[in-house]
Structure formats: C-alpha cells, structure tokens
Symmetry: C3
C-alpha cells in the first residue's frame, strides 16, 4: 500500500509538537505518529543547538513523523498548515507493508 | 547504488527490537542497522506514549532502520515477517554513496 | 519544492559529526541540519553498540540529516566526501512545503 510519509521539523522549547500530536491524534485520527528528538542541529535561526547532560532543556530539534494514505495526508497538512513554519514539512512516498 | 531503506515501527516494552536486530545481524547479515527511540508517539492502540525523566521505562516507540540491495531486503522482509505487525514496515528507494 | 534529503551514518565516538555539522553550517550554509543518536545499531565493524544508562558514552550510531535543493546537495556532498566513509550516505528526493 502506497503511503505519504511526513516529517515536520520543529523545536522543542515551544511545545508546538504537543499541540500538533494532539491534533493528529484527536482530530485528524492519523494512524500513527512518532516524535524524535535530535541531539544537535540548527534551523532557520542558524544557531546550533546541542544537548549535554547539564543542558537537557535546551531548545532541541524535534521531528514529528507520520504516514497515511496520500489523500488523507494532503487533507491533514491543509488542516495543520498554520501550526508549522513554511519549508519545515517534508513529504515523500513509501510502501507500507 | 540503489538501495531499499526499511523502517520498522515497534514499541520498546516487548523487546521485539532486540530479537529483530539479532536476526538482521546474525542470520540475515544486513550491512548495517540503526535503532531510534522516539520521545513520544502513538500507534495501533491509539494511546499516546511520552517520555519524561521520571518515566523513562514507558513503552516507547522504537524505529529499526536499515538498508541494503532491493532483492536482499525483499528476502529479509519475507524472513522477518512473523516478527513484525502488519502495516508497521515502511520501505522506500534511496541512493547510497 | 523538490529537495534532496541526505542521511549520513557515523558513530559518535570520533566526533566526526561535530566536524561535519560545523562545515555544513559555517561553510556550506545548508538550510538546516538535525542530528539523531540511535539507541542501538551496528555498521561496518559488525559489532552491535547498545546504550544503557550506565553506558551512555559508548560509540553510538549517529545520523546527520539535512536537505536542500538537489544541485546544492550535490555540491555539498562533493565537498564533504573526505569526511564520510564510502557507502554511509543515503540520498532521496522529497517535497518540501
């Protein structure tokens, strides 16, 4: 079965990912979501964020990954567009088995 | 070189990922495997799992990622089919260099 | 907008990822980079690396992920080729929105 995979890039500090996950879960009913925290990275600001044991609360990069049927994903992305920054959403096609 | 990338979605609690990695390593001899733990997510059950410092042993989402030649991956997926749930395996094509 | 997504597989112990991120940030000016640490994995050596709370400093698998316009990524990969091992760089096409 062909699916569209989505990866949304946010940062942790603003808790945007909680709001997005709740919407994907409660409203959009996407079949599954996984959220990953990076250990380092930089984005729009150009500032590199890195984790250390003393520094765990930094504004770390977070990726929200999910997949579903292509038409459903298109609708979901339309609905959550205002919650994510432009050019922070990757989509690609994969086979689900 | 064209490869097929595989991402298998499991949860950590049942230690399924250890069994899968051992099989990929010892029997299937896949060229490399990386396992990622999510910080939050939900799947079939619909229940959202989230990590906190006090709560690190929760049944967290885990992704097993590997890639190899397309024919080899097809054989490997046939062999490990009984170890993974239906609709929990993503595959897509990438270029390895 | 079509982008090329890159995933570079390194291990943490040698701090190669710091050098690569600095180059991507300071010299190549790639639009964004996220670095993920695996909790388990194996590569060329065949030795499985696994994290435990007591064992956090092990030589863990690390993935450096970034994306940008295809022509730019091609140039970047040419420039950092000497910093990565052969057959440790995956690229695939995705849509950025």
């Amino acid at each position: 079965m062909k699916v569209t995979v989505v990866r949304i890039y946010v940062t942790e500090g603003k808790h945007v990912h909680d709001a997005i996950i709740n919407k994907l879960h409660d409203v959009e009913k996407v079949r599954g979501v996984t959220v990953f925290r990076g250990i380092s990275g930089y984005g729009q600001s150009g500032k590199v964020h890195s984790a250390s044991l003393l520094d765990i609360s930094l504004d770390m990069p977070v990726v929200i990954e999910f997949f579903d049927a292509p038409e459903k994903i298109q609708r979901v992305l339309d609905h959550i567009g205002s919650m994510v920054k432009p050019e922070h959403v990757l989509t690609f096609t994969a086979e689900l088995s």
